[in-house]
Amino acid sequence: CTSVLAEDSKGVLYHARNLDFGLFFGWDKAKKTWLVTEYLRPTIVNIRFKKSGQTVFMSTHFAGYVGILTALKPGRFSLTVNSRNSLDGSSTLGIIEWILGKRDAVWMGFLTRRVMETADSYAQAKQMLTGTKMLAPAYFILGGNSTMQGCIITRSRNAAIDVWERSAAANHTWYLLQTNYDHWKPPFVLDDRRTPGNKCMMAKGQASMGFKEIFNVLSSIPVLNKLTTYTALMRVDTGEYHSYRQTCKDPCPIW
């Protein structure tokens, strides 16, 4: 996955993501595609969660999955989840503990759903995402509704091990880009979507930032790859939310 938080020169914050999934779950030799990725794409739906006739939040789902991976609460905050693999504190122990009856940790999708339903502000969402014990590590990318709001929360099972605030980001405070590796470490050499993503963001520049240029960045190889199922574009202040199924035509990297 690749998530981007970017602010244009007028102070408008955009939040976007590519959701990549299906690595190693079967390869179609004839079509040169990941099987699960291809089967996931037709299940994608956008949901408006409503209460008393009013929209509470909007999200993109794989139909049948009730948790949240990409969502926007209009006027409040936006949230995307990127997967994080960590040898220390992986989900193995958490799942075993759950089965054995120790249930003080929360499944990731249920936590994010609770955040979208109950948190009323960026600060409250951030507090819930940093302070709740989980069954597996993750990256939470959280956008706010005013200038300089936005952070990337690197989670272990027990706590946030890093909160990367836009205000603290070196060199390019106008955007943050997160893939599936801790931002303070180099990415895996065979899966570096961070460097090309940053290169494209810097080439586009803050002045031209908006849905068009973020979509172009997320459609550039290898940020776009054979695991990409959809791209979502969100703007908290106006409540705009768009998502598009994505496919990557050959020549295209397999991840």
Binding site: F25, G26, V36, Y39, L40, P42, T43, I44, V45, N46, I47, R48, F49, K50, K51, S52, F62, A63, G64, V66, G67, V81, S83, S90, S91, G94, I95, W98, W107, G109, F110, R113, L135, A136, P137, A138, V189, D191, D192, R193, P196, C200, K212, E213, F215, N216, V217, S219, S220, I221, P222, N225, Y230, T231, S243, Y244, P251, C252, P253, I254
Partner: protein
């Protein structure tokens, strides 16, 4: 073709994407009982959800040489389904009822993030 081999330039011609790629919208009312609130969504996508889970089941069968492992996990998950917090537990029961997919498989789908991490 792994990313390290690619040096493609940044795209500038992909927006707007074709309207055919736009994702369809549905409303889900949080005022409705959890067991029925997803029915209209999953009813429209039940064959796709079934195909996806079947594909995953086939993958596990090819990997292990048997359907036993997938079925064992799905059956075990049915037993722990009552421990899933509400309203998600009832939502999954509702999805299982509408699609006809066993509850253990729907639960596996919903904890896929943790399961794949494992």
């Amino acid at each position: 073709f792994v990313p390290a081999q690619f040096t493609q330039e940044c795209r500038s011609d992909t927006y707007p994407p074709p309207s055919s790629s736009e994702v369809e919208w549905f409303d889900v009312s949080l005022d409705e009982a959890p067991i029925i609130r997803w029915r209209h969504v999953v009813a429209r996508r039940q064959s796709q959800i079934r195909d996806l889970l079947l594909q995953f089941k086939n993958f596990i069968r090819q990997l292990t040489g048997s359907s036993v492992y997938f079925n064992l996990v799905a059956r075990s998950l049915t037993l722990i389904a009552p421990t899933v917090p509400q309203p998600y537990q009832d939502e999954m029961v509702g999805i299982s009822t509408v699609t006809g997919i066993p509850l253990g498989e729907i639960l596996l789908y919903n904890i896929f993030y943790e399961a794949t991490n494992l």
